[in-house]
């Protein structure tokens, strides 16, 4: 049965020439492949345990991915409604008096700042409109804007935008239009007080017009209750073609607004410039609420993943006491036993993250098709961006590995003697 030749040449190693200790506290790279092999074999042996672990991690990642995408969508919609279809990233107003002068030059100056995508002068006067054929007027802000550009302080809800120089057209706020029964195409009487400040109540400066409704406007910045006309038309009527009440600056990056506003103020002493986050308490607090909800949900996901993962990994270690004892008896150092079990936690985290991302993707696609919030053209849809996958995955994988530390530590420090007793008897 047994050939007497030894499988390895007997002279290869004499007794006593093997060092007793390897350099302290080091795991040889070569043995990492062994540790990974042991971790993988051990992990895949208990299918149910692995399934539960992956399910716990994947649920956490999937939930948080979808949640992040929804919250990002909420934030984007909020900022879009409040800034891009609202009062812009930076609002430039006169430091003294009622109107900005030399608007053409000021607009050109502001457009030269880095990151500025559009500069929009706005003229605002008090006014009123009425439904045709009915006498009673409803008070409203009359806003003169260049309505053709990409950036406007409102969202076009229906109809078409105002063409530049259109002195016969008007856009009516959605709520106002609702009350007055106005639709695009209707003719509507409008009154405007063509002055500001001391001349406001001068009856001479009272303009009467009949304009055609081109479209309806919505938006967060009172657009619902305002009417919009062509700015050059309104400025001409007022008699101040190069003046404006306000200049709205739109940026590529909303979060660059505050420092840029400070810069504008110090460069241009005649104006004040305020970033949206300082000028709009509603937007600012919505934004802070978004951040708080994000952090809270992230924390809860971490806790909700860590506890079952820790428990399952710990049970796994208890079930594998015999294998741990064997590893120890075969001469696998304790720190490498620790690594074997930590690698299992890492693998669970990575597999769970991949499954969770797939799950999150499906949920995101569902909510894109069925938005969580939709009202009059203001729709919140989840954002399908890679960042929504990366951060929750990293956080949950990190939490999984951390949850694996205690079980791995217990595996590495378990007293093997009782286990060997079980093996020997």
């Amino acid at each position: 049965m047994m050939p007497s030749a030894a499988p390895v040449a007997e002279t290869e190693r004499g007794r006593g020439d093997v060092p007793f200790a390897e350099p302290a506290a080091k795991i040889p790279w070569a043995s990492l492949s062994l540790l990974a092999f042991l971790a993988q074999k051990s992990l895949f042996e208990s299918r149910l345990g692995l399934l539960l672990l992956v399910a716990a991690v994947a649920t956490g990642v999937g939930f948080q991915v979808a949640n992040t995408a929804n919250l990002e969508g909420y934030q984007a919609a909020l900022l879009d409604e409040g800034i891009a279809a609202g009062s812009g990233d930076i609002r430039v107003r006169p430091r003294h008096g009622q109107t900005l002068e030399n608007v053409a030059r000021l607009t050109a100056d502001l457009a030269r700042y880095p990151g500025v995508r559009a500069v929009l002068p706005v003229v605002m006067v008090p006014g009123a409109i009425a439904a045709r054929g009915r006498g009673s007027f409803t008070g409203s802000l009359v806003v003169g804007v260049d309505g053709e550009g990409e950036f406007r302080p409102f969202r076009l809800a229906s109809g078409r935008p105002l063409a530049r120089g259109d002195d016969a057209g008007i856009l009516v706020g959605e709520s106002l239009a609702d009350r007055l029964g106005l639709r695009p195409g209707d003719a509507v009487p409008m009154r405007a007080l063509l002055a500001a400040g001391p001349a406001l109540l001068d009856e001479e400066r009272y303009g009467r017009y009949t304009l055609t409704v081109r479209g309806l406007a919505g938006g967060a910045w009172g657009a619902d209750e305002s009417v919009f006309v062509d700015r050059t038309f309104l400025a001409r009527e007022i008699g101040a073609p190069d003046e404006a009440t306000l200049i709205v600056v739109y940026l590529g990056d909303h979060f660059a607004a505050r420092p840029l506003a400070r810069r504008m103020e110090s460069d241009l002493p005649a104006v004040t410039a305020r970033a949206w986050i300082d000028d709009s308490p509603f937007l600012a607090s919505s934004f802070h609420a978004y951040q708080a909800v994000s952090t809270l949900s992230q924390t809860m996901v971490v806790v909700a993943v860590t506890i079952p993962v820790l428990a399952l990994l710990y049970i796994n270690v208890l079930q594998r006491r015999r294998e741990i004892g064997l590893l120890c008896a075969l001469g696998i150092p304790r720190r490498e036993v620790f690594v074997v079990f930590l690698l299992q936690a890492l693998a669970v985290g990575l597999i769970g993250a991949v499954v969770g991302c797939a799950l999150g993707y499906v949920v995101i696609r569902y909510f894109q098709a069925h938005p969580i919030f939709a009202w009059k053209g203001f729709v919140i849809r989840p954002v399908l961006a890679w960042t929504c996958f990366v951060k929750p995955s990293l956080v949950v994988v990190g939490a999984t590995v951390l949850a694996g530390v205690y079980p791995a530590f217990r595996a590495a420090t378990a007293d093997p003697a009782p286990v060997f007793r079980g093996l020997g008897e």
Binding site: M1, R15, F20, S33, L326, C328, P333, A417, L423
Partner: protein
Amino acid sequence: MTPVVRAEGLSRRHGESSVVRALSLEVGPAESLAILGPSGCGKTTLLHMLGLLDRPSAGRVLLDGVDVWAESSPAQARLRLLRVGFVFQQNNLFGHLSARENIALPAWRRSGSKRLALGEADAWIERLGLAQKASAPGRSLSGGEAQRVAIARALINRPSLVLADEPTGSVDSRSAGQIIAALLECCTAHQAALIVVTHDRDVASRMARSLSMRDGAIAPEAPEAHEAHPGGAPG
């Protein structure tokens, strides 16, 4: 000849009870020793103390002249890896690894190379007549096959000391014969010291020497010498 292993006044207490009492012995290269004795007399405990698995309450174990229980934990792991081969009575194997992988494991850890280790394992599989079972998972092997795999794994790093705790305790007599033959043959070929705990007089009679234990100490009757062998066990 310097002994491979030398125990000096080894004791192990569990609370009030003394499981092993001031026991001394030594075994030289290529020498084999059977330890007999009634159940509960401390044989397993002794073997575990010799094999760096259970720390003695008192006394020393010198392995190739090194006081093993004075070494650091990583150094002890290294001694277990390179100098000691342990065969338990049963449940020796990783059930989810193949016979070949079970055998290769210590060599893989020693050499850092899976390929080399599997190569060495294959030679042992051939040597112990396990070719048909090479890729069978550990849990599917019969008692006798599993013990032979455990022997190959204990010997693959060519340790100085091989310890077997009732290696034939749970197999039939034909397998028992094969297991003991394999142990003796391989230990002699590799100049390893072999200590076998057994209840079986036949097994004991195949060892160079045997001693009996009673109540944690070596029984007073003179150790039985099966062959003319230098160096008896003191005690």
